[in-house]
């Protein structure tokens, strides 16, 4: 089930997001991502090229080596899944406040 529309609700939510900051997801953006994900109760998973990691784990996110332009599938599952996805999408769109 995918929630392409950005409206907070219940149920799982999945969306493909693109990394747009010039350096990609290095330590600082990874920490920012994880901090945001940890504010929500739902599970957050991030998938890149068939590799799936926990979105609340810095080591996991760094392992993906998601450089600029790479596509991540973010999957949230739990009561506040929609809100979590919205927040994460906003952070990626903001280029992690870099650039």
């Amino acid at each position: 089930m995918s929630a392409k529309k950005a409206s907070p609700g219940t149920g799982p939510a999945t969306k493909e997001l693109t990394v747009t900051n010039t350096k990609g997801i290095h330590a600082r953006p990874a920490a920012m991502f994880v901090k945001a994900a940890n504010r929500f109760a739902c599970d957050v998973f991030v998938e890149k090229d068939g590799e799936k990691v926990n979105g609340k784990s810095i080591m996991g996110l760094m392992m993906l080596a998601a450089g600029p332009g790479s596509k991540l599938t973010v999957h949230c599952e739990g009561a506040d899944a929609q809100a979590a996805l919205l927040e994460i999408e906003a952070i990626l769109k903001r280029k992690f406040d870099e650039d």
Partner: protein, 315 residues
């Protein structure tokens, strides 16, 4: 940030072992305050040139002064002594065990100025006295928290009462590290840039453990478990998990706290039942040791990651 008032008496009694001073006259002036933490050789003052006389310092008389004075006729000498003592001096020290003459002693008694003899050559006395004064004048403070020496890394552990500081310290001692101070750490600023922690003299080597009472750490765990003083390298604040809003997850940026005006590396460790705090503090100390030697694991890993992403984006 303040230092204690340094009287001639303190300078004399607290350094008898190092400076080997012997009081020869002017005991009535022992309560005099030493305003400046250094030593002056009066030299020119004894010739009559008193402008810029650094009279607020400990005065050291060496061979040059002593033999110059000896070369003067007694009447002239007495006049120079009066001029010298017309300034309020903290005290006068004769190095090389040189003997002050009777006019000098008389003038000193009249002016309540303590006179000492010291066996060392002047240069050695000046060096030792400057170090001793520097130490006595060093800014001091008190920090709430226990201090432990973890393999050469001085760690101050802070946190609210009841959060588990003492248990933590106890666990670190059991792992073989040494206690510097329990609950209250006295800090001194050395050379204006290094913070050194120690325990209040009275409670040294003792700890209070809730439910057990006061224990003597040295008696219980042996002499290796205690350390008198240690420079401070890391401050760890223990905080309840729910009160921690923003904790560093990567450790690339170093946070600091100011102690006696010096920036000391600082980390916050969130506390939750079941976390082995002693183990975490031990690792934090090792991490500090690595960082002090120039190695930052987070930075190295991040550099590797950045290089990998840069290489892939060029494909």
């Amino acid at each position: 940030m303040q230092h204690d008032t340094v009287t001639v008496e303190r300078f004399y009694t607290e350094n008898t072992g190092d400076l080997e001073l012997r009081l020869t006259a002017g005991a009535a002036g022992l309560k005099r305050i030493i305003p400046e933490p250094t030593v002056n050789r009066p030299g020119l003052v004894l010739t009559g040139f008193t402008k810029y006389f650094a009279h607020k310092r400990v005065q050291a008389i060496g061979n040059a002064e002593a033999f110059y004075l000896k070369s003067l006729p007694p009447g002239e000498r007495a006049k120079r002594y009066d001029l010298f003592f017309s300034h309020r001096l903290p005290c006068v020290v004769f190095s090389r065990n040189l003997k002050p003459d009777k006019f000098f002693l008389k003038a000193a008694e009249e002016n309540d100025t303590p006179i000492f003899q010291c066996p060392f050559i002047t240069m050695k006395f000046i060096n030792l006295a400057t170090l001793a004064l520097e130490m006595m004048f060093a800014p001091r403070g008190t920090e709430m928290g226990s201090m432990v020496d973890i393999l050469g890394v001085g760690v101050l552990i802070r946190g609210e009462s009841g959060i588990g500081k003492s248990e933590c310290v106890l666990a670190l001692i059991e792992r073989g590290y040494s206690l510097v101070a329990d609950d209250i750490t006295k800090v001194t600023l050395m050379d204006g840039r290094r913070v050194v922690g120690t325990s209040a003299g009275l409670t040294r080597d003792h700890m209070e453990i809730r439910g057990i009472g006061i224990i003597n750490v040295a008696a219980m765990f042996g002499v290796k478990s205690i350390r008198k003083e240690k420079s401070l390298d890391l401050v760890v604040t223990l905080k309840l998990w729910e009160n921690v809003t923003d904790v560093d997850r990567v450790g690339m940026e170093q946070e600091y706290v100011k102690i006696l005006g010096v920036e000391v590396p600082h980390i916050t460790i969130p506390v939750r039942p079941g976390r082995d705090l002693a183990r975490l503090i031990e690792v934090a100390a090792f991490q500090t040791k690595l960082k002090l030697s120039g190695y930052n694991a987070a930075k190295e890993l991040n550099d590797r990651l950045l290089a990998k992403m840069a290489a892939e984006s060029k494909l």
